[in-house]
């Protein structure tokens, strides 16, 4: 029998706020231990939480980006458990009335467009970090109280590859939306993986096995590459898998059991009495809605449709947000978007990378590239000449029209002038002329090159070819 995996992901992401969730301490990575702390985030006696409005905004913004509905009322709850890294020994989270619910995310995976539904994205607080020394342990509470978004997917992912594509797409969206920097190195993204297996085609779900606290996507892939075959092998041996929580051993490359369902925590959730329920007003929601940005995949598809760009160009302009934005601004109303895209992707990006400038620091005005394309398309300059004009424009900020005029680079298309040059070249190269007449076509290119040289690159190459052929055949 063939088996398939059913995977759901719970992704925890640190929100990009200036301050922590309940206090004014900086939300900052890398500060010396316990330097970004205060009575509130240390859980001192008598303190009360005050919700960070920016965190609430980013949560709702995430919901909008993930096509979620935004309930008119959300509330916070206490999740009770003891652990030394927890300042209050309860975590404030959103249990049964989260800020966002029931959305979806579209992403590309294995060359196909996939959709995975989002159960909810809710707001909670991060905990401190345990540090172990030779003789004792310590806790760094800098991270305690940092706003954390938990994004829960439906169990609709069916492979390790798809899980990683989902995670990449999700973090792309969050970075693009300004929700989180999603810096894995700094622990800004962590993930719990729920995975079960079932006979292919079956609709029933197998025993849910949760792998806790993955902090790299490659770890997620490796853990699934280990766990899915393990479960299938167990089922094939006739074992019944039971619900449990497992831990990923990154060095050993295996998962191992942490606790069974019977040992599961009873978190004793109840509504947080120190915080009022959150009921966003229409004007507040409108403000958040105004911050919604276009998602990467949507932009790619729009570029392909609206500008008839090939997928590779659309992707390049999506991967580099600034390039995409620049392209969008300069392409408006132009009849050759594909050519403009080429200039941005193949020439401009390279020069910027080489010079270390950003799009905002460009010397030349935004009409520069469209004007350059217009000059080529109108036959005023050759594409070769255009390269030279581009470099000068990039260096000096002068518009192409001005450069061409000032330097007299205008292409010569006048057949009379070109014919004089062609006659000169044929006379000077009788051997090549004979070769052509004898049927060796390559000789024409040589002659063409000589004419171009003579014209200092200004002759229209198309016209040169026509004239040469006429003279040689005539």
């Amino acid at each position: 029998m063939e088996y398939e995996a059913v995977i759901g992901l719970e992704t925890h992401v640190q929100l990009k706020t200036l301050s922590k969730m309940w206090c004014g301490c900086a939300n900052e990575f890398g500060a010396s231990p316990n330097s970004n702390v205060c009575p509130v985030c240390l859980g001192f006696p008598g303190v009360l939480p005050v919700a960070n409005e920016q965190a609430l905004r980013l949560t709702v913004l995430t919901g909008l980006l993930l096509n979620c509905s935004i309930p008119s009322r959300a509330k916070f709850d206490r999740k009770n458990y003891f652990y030394p890294d927890s300042a209050k020994n309860y975590q404030v989270t959103q249990y049964d009335q989260p800020s966002t619910r029931e959305g979806w995310i579209d992403f590309e995976s294995g060359g196909r467009l996939e959709t995975v539904r989002i159960t909810r994205a809710h707001l909670e607080e991060d905990v401190g970090k345990n540090v172990h020394f030779e003789r004792c342990s310590g806790v760094d509470f800098n991270r305690a109280g940092v706003p954390l978004l938990e994004i829960v997917s439906e169990p609709e992912i069916c492979s390790a590859d798809m899980a990683c594509d989902y995670l990449n797409a999700l973090t792309d969206i969050l970075v693009r939306g300004g929700i989180s920097d999603c810096d894995m190195e700094k622990g800004m993204v962590r993930c719990d993986v729920n995975v079960s297996v079932r006979p292919k085609g079956s609709k029933a779900l197998g025993a849910k096995i949760e792998i806790k606290n993955m902090n790299t996507f490659s770890g997620v892939r490796r853990a699934l590459d280990y766990e899915i075959p393990r479960q299938i092998a167990a089922v094939q041996r006739g074992e019944r898998l039971a619900q449990e929580t497992r831990r990923w051993d990154d060095i050993g490359g295996i998962t191992e059991s942490m606790r069974s369902k019977e040992d599961a925590h009873d978190y004793r959730y109840f509504p947080e009495p120190d915080l009022m329920p959150f009921e966003p007003s229409d004007s507040w929601l409108a403000q958040v809605r105004a911050q919604v940005v276009e998602l990467p995949l949507a932009r790619k598809r729009r570029f392909m449709e609206q500008f008839q760009l090939p997928p590779s160009d659309a992707q390049a302009l999506t991967d580099d947000d600034a390039a995409g934005n620049y392209f969008q601004r300069i392409v408006a109303g132009h009849r050759s978007p594909k050519t403009i895209a080429n200039w941005v992707i193949n020439n401009l990006k390279g020069k910027l990378a080489e010079s270390g400038f950003s799009f905002g620091e460009l010397q030349f005005p935004e009409v520069g590239i469209p004007q350059l394309v217009d000059l080529v398309e109108a036959g005023k300059i050759s594409t070769t000449m255009a390269q030279e004009v581009f470099l000068e424009m990039f260096r000096t900020g002068e518009l192409p029209g001005g450069i061409v005029e000032r330097r007299g680079l205008s292409q010569v298309s006048d057949a009379g002038a070109i014919e004089a040059l062609c006659r000169q070249v044929i006379e000077a190269n009788p051997k090549s002329a004979d070769d052509f007449r004898a049927g060796r076509g390559a000789a024409l290119n040589f002659l063409k090159g000589q004419v171009m040289k003579l014209s200092k690159g200004k002759a229209n190459p198309g016209v040169v070819g026509d004239v040469l052929e006429r003279l040689l055949n005539g």
Partner: protein, 488 residues
């Protein structure tokens, strides 16, 4: 005899420069030296700090600062050991906090300082405000200034005893189920629980967050109004504090009750009431009528469930609120082989029996499988109780009742029977569940021994003005508030 002055009288004297803040503070400390060995109201006092604040107040007075600008300038006010005072010990009458000192001021403390008060002392209480007698203090039991073989009530027993014994001009306590009103009644002073959200809870060590409210203990109603004025108002540090404007409370003390309707809840006229308490409260009701109030019977049909509801919600919240006392970041610690053992050993030795009982109860009612039957159901009943009050308040301006079923009981009399102890709060608990305001003031004495009896006036949510008006009119036309405890 400065220490016997009422707060308003002291303010008059200070502003006329007839006494100094230093003299006022010294008078309190001297009285403490005289009587606290009998009353045991204070856990500790930082005398130097208190005198330094008093001197600062005198300097301000000398430089021309008036009581119009700083209404409590130079007035000594003491704190229950559950309110954070920067640099001062904070124990909540528990061993678990060890040598902890608060690194910050509670909002009410900051407001008192802002108003110029001399904030001093740590007043004894039941551990973490759990109890009705101060017998649950980990340190010692405070005794009733009217009869030192009796308890002062609780949990804010030290607050009530210190005011009744004239060791301070006023004190601030906290009321979760009657912890201000009950000891005020038993010690013969005025104790007020403001409407939930009226006073910021920031810096009040939480027992039950949705029920706790800070309030004043004073020698009379006007003093209570003055202090309420100073501590009320929205605080951005407390999300449950309300943006309701703060009226001029003393302006409501007109002495006139004409046109007011006062309710008597038939459910509060229950058996088990001490006959002398019953008689005193009935006399008080007739007196209110003689002052022009109309007495109307009202019904609070779900009152019977108040105590049970309270002990589910309060313990549930407490079980989470007290989880932070784990010996890891602050307070006493008993080492263990791992953090879990350290935690359980620290809590096992740091908490007293009643606190443990309530944490266990609260943990139980929130447990998976029991949540719906206990916590969720209690929340529903709480809503019904709140609706009872709102409905009653449609037809009356306030409700009166006894504050407690009996006068002060003997030390040890109920300490072996938690349930009996819980029942001493039956008249005060509903007010916390409903969130409205309440005040207790003296309405007579038992004959032998002579012990104070408290009258409770319950006001509408944010109805402190009318509540104070009724309490003040009654007080000023009766002799009880002028009685002084034999010790004092």
């Amino acid at each position: 005899m400065i220490h016997r002055l009422r707060l308003a009288e002291l303010i008059d004297k200070l502003s006329r420069r007839e006494c100094s803040a230093r003299e006022a503070m010294a008078a309190c400390l001297l009285q403490m030296d005289r009587v606290d060995s009998q009353v045991h109201a204070f856990l500790s006092v930082d005398r130097d700090n208190a005198m330094a604040q008093a001197d600062a107040a005198d300097r301000a007075l000398a430089s021309g600062v008036t009581h119009r600008e700083k209404p409590l300038l130079g007035v000594p006010i003491a704190l229950k050991d559950v309110l954070c005072h920067q640099g001062q010990p904070l124990n909540c009458s528990s061993k678990i906090l060890g040598t902890f000192r608060s690194p910050y001021d509670a909002t009410v403390v900051a407001k008192l300082k802002e108003a110029g008060a001399t904030v001093f002392g740590r007043l004894n209480m039941d551990e973490f405000a759990m109890g009705s007698s101060t017998e649950n203090s980990a340190f010692f039991t405070t005794l009733n200034p009217w009869d030192t073989s009796r308890i002062p009530g609780g949990s804010s027993g030290g607050c009530a005893a210190s005011v009744a014994a004239n060791e301070c001009f006023a004190s601030l306590g906290s009321d979760t189920g009657g912890s201000i009103r009950q000891p005020a009644a038993l010690c013969g002073c005025v104790g007020m629980k403001p409407t939930y959200g009226r006073v910021s809870r920031y810096g009040l060590v939480a027992f039950a967050s949705s029920l706790d409210q800070i309030g004043p203990f004073t020698k009379d109603v006007r003093d209570g109004a003055i202090l309420l004025q100073a501590i009320s108002g929205y605080d951005r540090r407390d999300s449950t504090s309300m943006r309701e404007p703060v009226p001029e409370y003393t302006a409501s003390l007109t002495g006139n009750l004409r046109g007011l309707k006062i309710g008597l809840a038939k459910e509060f006229m229950v058996g088990g009431l001490d006959p002398e308490v019953d008689a005193a409260v009935k006399r008080a009701v007739r007196h209110l009528e003689s002052l022009g109030a109309e007495i109307v019977e009202v019904s609070l049909p779900h009152s019977d469930y108040a105590v049970a509801t309270y002990y589910i919600i309060a313990t549930a919240e407490a079980s989470a609120n007290l989880a932070r006392f784990d010996g890891i970041r602050y307070g006493a610690r008993v080492e263990g082989s791992d953090p879990f053992q350290l935690n359980s050993r620290t809590r096992g030795s740091g908490f007293g029996a009643e606190v443990k009982r309530r944490i266990i109860l609260g943990t139980y009612v929130l447990s998976s499988g029991y949540y719906d039957a206990y916590y969720l159901r209690a929340q529903k009943v709480r809503t019904l109780i709140r609706q009872d009050f709102l409905k009653a308040f449609e037809s009356v301006d306030a409700i009166v009742s006894p504050t407690t079923p009996t006068a002060a009981f003997k030390v040890g009399e109920k300490s072996g029977d938690p349930l009996q102890m819980y029942l001493s709060d039956i008249f005060t608990i509903s007010c916390n569940l409903a969130g409205n305001c309440g005040i207790s003031l003296p309405c007579g004495f038992t004959s032998s021994p002579k012990l104070p009896i408290g009258l409770q006036v319950l006001g509408k949510p944010f109805g402190e003005e009318t509540m104070l008006r009724i309490a003040h009119a009654y007080e000023q036309s009766t002799p009880w508030h002028r009685e002084v405890a034999p010790l004092g």
